[in-house]
Symmetry: C2
DNA sequence: GTTAGCACTCTCATGGTGCGAGTGCCAACC
DNA sequence: GGTTGGCACTCGCACCATGAGAGTGCTAAC
């Protein structure tokens, strides 16, 4: 028992690496423990199964593989996946055919920004056959670009806010007196002049300058208050939404046949606080992040892996796209796809800030 | 084998009804076949287990109960649930405490219509402990209420459409020439005058009247085209979105432990065509609809039940709220809750059309 | 250092067995 | 005649034993 786990035992020689790769790739497709015979049969390793066995034993001693039981084949450990991922992370472009296909799909919704995120999730799901995730780009702080007031009835109006960051907000306002559209438009114009490009805090200060006694500024003040509140809510909100697609793909994986594990994963995905932390971490890192099993910050996600990439403009608006799958995941493909889609999202966002 | 199923064998006497109710209610909570002893133990039926057994045999002959195997208790058939539901459908108000709680929650988002549907789904899920479903109220045909053009950069603008029905649309427009916000506002005003209250078809006709050669109307024509397209897309779209919450509750049910059945259900929920059909059916009926197991129009839903109610204004805008759960569902509570929430949604929508 | 051979271990599928829950029937009872 | 207690009967299910098969680790030979 004493010398069982000998982690980080120096770099591996090429043959060991090749065998580790083979084990992982075989296990990713078969989902069953891999034996030495299966390896020599299916991979051109140039050595016999006995030799492979001794290498497997070394890899196990190094903590990269494990043994479900004596007479079973080997299964990668999280460290094994980690080693594998580090060794391939910089060299897996998505095949051009698929790139083209994805670009084509995004081209069709290029002018409807509200569809980008859903499409990103759907695309990631269908290409990687895992679950696709995408959050809208959330502005670091919301700046008002324009507001509009639309009369709904005598005493009810809809206030529409357009943010510089591209997001849209609609709130209803009850009016103290019956008010015509013309008057509403005048108020909207006045507030537009005052508040264009302002954040919630700035808007609050500016509106403080209005005469609180003057009945003529009663409506602008009331509307202004709602504007400020909406902007501040926007700043304070965690992630707006998480678009996901293909959760079914993950459900289909044999390791989730008994659904308890999966339930915990789904529950974690509905936990906004967890998501917010995760996403801000990825956004700050500025690069693709791979969380394998228990590397995930949340315990519930210990049985799955995440491949996430940030997109957007640091300091202005950032979002995250990625995939979620079993730890037994096709990492090279996942990383390539996520990298490509995040690049695409960057291009789209850049348009908005051109 | 010949006389096995003797459906619709006249009305049941009161004792049989009581026993059917008891079997269903017991099965709903225990999820296990119910035997005659369990019934006399837990329900004050005033007869012995032998008598209960003979009644159970009659109910089985009538097709309302079934026998998984000789030595097991009884399980309700879909017809059994159907009979049960018909007998209680008109008399199950939601407890006032819960009514108050729900009203309070809706009060907090009263002025943010985009949150209503999500809240409806969440509320239904948490009260019924099944999955909550809600679709936004989809206008029968979209009428433009107002449009706005916001400059994003030299040659890129955002077109914002407000529909009379309360929905919002944003599309990006590329401009042929660098254009200032002032000019965009002027175009927006002009189009607002022309198109206020119009449907896509009407707008198309009106814009046809503009001089196609006049360079001064080039921009209005271009924007107008996008407006028409957006309105028509809106009319043609199936359901915008299906908000759902609490799918986890359904996953937790023992009958879905082996997740294959559930996968099919989830897949059906992602099938827009199926949803559209289902929802329009419910909307047309104008009343609460209960689909039990294979009564569902889609085969994939044969293992679950739906309780759905329409809300909104017939002929103007209608949506659907409801719950999805195992056929072994607490129907009285589900029906009461769905009825209450749909009433609440009606009140909210009425505001918009006041 | 590599390989073939071999004994050993452990899982999984298979089939037999006993228990218990629940029924259906029957004779007795009110 | 409806209701009841008693009793034989039927299955499903949990339990155990068994055997086949897969895969290992070790060792001796190359």
């Amino acid at each position: 028992m004493v010398r069982r786990v000998r982690r980080s035992s120096g770099p591996l020689d090429l043959r060991s690496q090749a065998i580790l790769r083979a084990v992982i790739e075989e296990y990713v497709t078969s989902a069953a423990p891999v034996g030495s015979h299966a390896l020599v049969d299916r991979y051109r390793l140039g050595v016999s199964s006995a030799t492979v066995r001794s290498v497997l034993a070394e890899l196990e001693a190094a903590g990269l593989l494990m043994h479900p039981h004596t007479s079973a084949g080997r299964v990668p450990t999280e460290q094994g996946y980690r080693y594998y991922v580090e060794s391939i992370v910089d060299s897996v472009p998505l095949p051009p055919v698929e790139q083209l296909m994805i670009r084509h799909q995004f081209g069709q919704v290029e002018y409807a920004s509200e569809h980008w995120f859903r499409l990103a999730a759907t695309t990631l799901a269908s290409v990687t056959r895992a679950a696709g995730l995408a959050t809208p780009a959330k502005p670091t702080s919301a700046h008002l670009r324009r507001l509009d007031l639309v009369s709904i009835s005598d005493r009810l109006a809809s206030l529409i806010l357009v943010l510089r960051e591209g997001a849209l907000r609609q709130v209803l306002i009850t009016l103290d007196h019956p008010t015509e559209q013309d008057e509403l438009s005048a108020v909207a114009n006045r507030l537009n002049d005052l508040l264009d490009g302002r954040t919630g805090l700035e808007a609050e200060r500016i509106l403080g300058g209005l005469d609180a006694e003057d009945p003529a500024t009663a409506l602008p003040r009331k509307v202004g208050e709602r504007v400020v509140r909406a902007l501040q809510e926007f700043d304070g909100a965690a992630i707006e939404e998480l678009f996901s697609d293909g959760l079914l793909n993950v459900m289909a994986a044999p390791e989730f046949a008994q659904s308890e594990k999966l339930r915990r994963v789904f529950a974690a995905l509905e936990n906004r606080a967890y998501l917010a932390k995760l996403i801000s971490g990825v956004a700050l890192s500025g690069r693709i992040c791979v969380f394998i099993g228990s590397e995930n910050p949340a315990e519930e996600m210990a049985d799955v892996s995440l491949v996430l990439a940030p997109y957007g403009q640091p300091g202005r608006a950032v979002g995250v796209v990625g995939v979620l799958g079993p730890t037994r995941m096709a990492y090279p493909q996942a990383i390539g796809t996520v990298r490509f889609v995040s690049g695409l999202m960057n291009e789209l966002i850049d348009h908005l800030y051109a």
